[in-house]
Symmetry: C2
Subunit: 177 residues, 2 copies
């Protein structure tokens, strides 16, 4: 897992967004945090917009890779993707929330178009893989809700609640009642 300057800049930007608020990200601050000069930063990302775009894309591709891996572990049969999605959500909790995405949103909401496309594709896959489309949809939305709570730094759930709802959702996908 070698980390080039590009990756260092990206994670510095994400960490900075977390620290100073998603809308207050500046190129100077990112450069200094990444241990690179502003010239060097602009060498890799010719504009702030491009940097934020890369932040979004990186998040999406990491998410996608992790999901595919988890799905393989679940065998690929019916409901395996929903189960993998639940797994991934749990694993996510240990990671910092993707504040870079928020920074992109703050700057220009259109930067989230790839996110939108990604989620639509994911939802289609979930529905295709699930036994019950409505339940898959409900699970998708509930996880989306928990994710957004975390992303907004307004996570209000107790660990017990989180566990309970996860259990309930797992039951929803598995149980044919």
């Amino acid at each position: 897992m070698k980390k080039g300057m590009r990756g260092k800049i990206l994670s510095a930007a994400a960490a900075l967004a977390r620290d100073i608020g998603p809308g207050n990200l500046s190129l100077d601050a990112v450069a200094s945090r990444a241990g690179v000069s502003k010239g060097g930063l602009l060498y890799h990302f010719p504009s702030k917009s491009k940097l934020l775009q890369a932040l979004v894309e990186q998040h999406l591709s990491e998410f996608d890779a992790a999901l595919n891996e988890k799905e393989k572990a679940h065998g690929g049969g019916s409901n395996s993707l929903v189960a993998a999605y639940l797994d991934l959500f749990v694993a996510e909790q240990a990671l910092p929330p993707p504040t870079g995405v928020l920074a992109a949103l703050a700057e220009n909401p259109e930067l989230l178009v790839p996110v939108s496309r990604f989620k639509r594709r994911l939802l289609d896959r979930l529905k295709a893989n699930a036994k019950d489309e409505n339940r898959a949809l409900a699970v998708f939305l509930a996880l989306e809700g928990m994710r957004s709570l975390r992303l907004f730094e307004t996570d209000i759930l107790t660990p017990a609640e989180r566990e309970a709802v996860l259990g309930f959702l797992a039951m929803l996908t598995a149980d044919p009642g």
Copy 2:
């Protein structure tokens, strides 16, 4: 329903955030959009932070008022709050998303603390009012998910899906199976 300058400024700010991105809100732009001088704006809101705070508070109090009204319409019995919450969500769809909240988040995530408190209280009320705590929690989260999709301008659901999931959630709260 008279609208003072204060209210005009608040809605101008929200509309602007929608147009130019939540992180690009400037006092000058808000003032000009609201048809007030910058001095006048600063008279009502002594700082940008205060303006954003007011935006958040206004959203919360409007939401709370609407919810209480809907609950009264549902009689106040068991599950009436969950039903009211579902109703309110449907009504919300006709309104523009609360972009002002995003603007606040972009500037300073701590401005969302009241949102956090509000949601926690709401969830407690929902759980207390519902027959099944887990189901109430799932409904709360699913709606939270749909709301966040809309807020991010990444709403990917078809009207049919929205309808289906709302029906499913209504069934979840009512049916004791």
